[in-house]
């Protein structure tokens, strides 16, 4: 099996079928989609609840041709469906041009394709094991379908083994509904939630750096056993880091002053530090924050009132039209402390508060409660 690198932080997930196929009855589709999710909940503590309206984790749509995500369907045959990994929102799209069928050797079996796509929605990439559900090729209707051991190992690597019929936690740092966090509060972060940097590691964990220490975040706050000295995990890395991000190559870059360091996990990846002007030509020293848009590989650097877009595949990597003003992005503050890409959104942190940026509207999200929100409560479980 192969893990894409992101996963859901909650185990109670919701879904909505926003657009049904025209040739199948809605209740039949509902049943097969539910069965497809059950393939994964059978071996984990994940639960999936269908909603008819409102916000959900996974949106399901049956669409033809170009359908708004830049990845058009190709008519009957060819590609049958695609889905987004958790970091991109988890949505699943099915090609309406296919002849979707239920319990039939004719057409394309909806249940099997949906179960495969939901594997992507949960964080699994394609497997090179032929018998695995997560193998990329459609094998035809299998009336005796059972999940392959390769798929079971994959999903349990992400979400653990099933412990009970009612499993998981429904608290999430971004959708918390309860005011009382479990476990002890972290005194340092709760008394002063201003941080140096936040970033996601290649294995899907989110870390907070502040001074000489770091914390690992969980779905409802800070993991026990933290803070720890930064040097215990990233040997050779100084404290008071300005910014950090993990690139799609799985390597994590740390920035401080005019220097940067590159790590693979906790191992320094060569001879570092190096000058930012050498490795990131066009980016200034002493940056405030950095994020990488995982989809297109472009890296955004923020400093003061400005931001720069760095594209490693271009020469020069920073276009002459940069820097641009952060104020172009409605609702965002200048001089941010940290920025983090998480579940398809970019979060900006400044002092005690954070902002959720919606890249589709190029503005801070309108939500209830409104942004900025308290970082201590929503992220650190205070």
């Amino acid at each position: 099996y192969a893990l894409q690198g992101s996963r859901w932080r909650v185990k109670k997930l919701t879904y909505k079928i926003s657009k049904y196929p025209t040739l199948l009855e809605k209740k039949v589709v509902d049943k097969d989609i539910s069965r497809a999710f059950a393939v994964w909940s059978e071996y984990t503590d994940l639960t999936f609840t269908q909603k008819r309206s409102g916000q959900v984790h996974i949106e399901i749509r049956f669409e033809r041709g170009e359908h708004g995500d830049g990845d058009p369907f190709d008519g009957p045959g060819g590609t049958l469906a695609h889905a987004y990994f958790p970091v991109y929102g988890g949505d699943a799209h099915f090609d309406e041009s296919e002849h979707w069928t239920v319990n039939s050797y004719r057409g394309t079996n909806l249940f099997q394709v949906a179960a495969h796509e939901f594997g992507h929605s949960l964080g699994l990439s394609h497997s090179d094991i032929k018998s695995a559900l997560m193998a990329p090729f459609y094998r035809g209707y299998d009336p005796d379908f059972v999940l392959d051991s390769d798929d079971i190992q994959g999903i349990q690597a992400l979400y653990g083994t099933r412990t009970s019929k009612i499993g998981g936690t429904d608290t999430n740092v971004h959708h918390r509904t309860t005011a009382s966090p479990t476990g002890e509060e972290d005194q340092e972060l709760c008394s002063d939630p201003k941080v140096d940097t936040m970033f996601n590691s290649a294995d899907g964990n989110t870390y907070v750096f502040k001074g000489d220490h770091y914390w690992k975040l969980t779905s409802d706050g800070v993991a026990s056993g933290y803070p720890r000295p930064i040097t215990t995990t990233w040997r050779g890395l100084p404290g008071n880091i300005d910014a950090a991000f993990t690139y799609k190559n799985g390597k994590t870059y740390f920035f401080k002053g005019s220097k940067y360091w590159r790590y693979v996990g906790g191992r320094m990846d060569g001879d570092y530090p190096k000058d930012i002007s050498e490795g990131f030509t066009g980016i200034p020293d002493n940056i405030d924050a950095a994020t990488v848009w995982t989809g297109n590989g472009k890296i955004y650097f923020y400093k003061g009132t400005k931001f720069w877009r760095f594209d490693p595949s271009q020469k020069p990597p920073v276009k002459s039209t940069y820097p641009k003003l952060i104020s172009n992005w409605e609702g965002l503050p200048n001089n941010v402390d940290a920025a983090l890409t998480y579940h398809g959104f970019t979060y900006f942190f400044k002092d005690k508060a954070y902002y959720r940026f919606n890249d589709r509207t190029f503005s801070v999200d309108i939500a209830d409660p409104a942004f900025p929100r308290a970082t201590a409560y929503w992220w650190f479980g205070c």
């Binding site: 990994f85 991109y88 394609h126 459609y138 989809g295 589709r360």
Partner: protein, 83 residues
Amino acid sequence: VPLMSENGAMRYLSQFGYLPPSNPSSSQIITKETMSKAITDFQSFAGLNVTGFLDNETITLMSAPRCGVKDKVGASSDGRSKR
């Protein structure tokens, strides 16, 4: 045996992450070695005989219905972005 041109195979390999995404605005040249390596990677991933060229078995599998998500997620720059 389904028909698939070398260009079709190139598009397929690019679509699923074995070759860099094709860019019509630049005259991107795929060498024979690059193409052969991409075919080898695809054959290896799919459990086919690894020949490095477009044999019938490989072309047949390229014509089979499949998931639209890339096999090699990190191999190209566009990924599965909603941006």
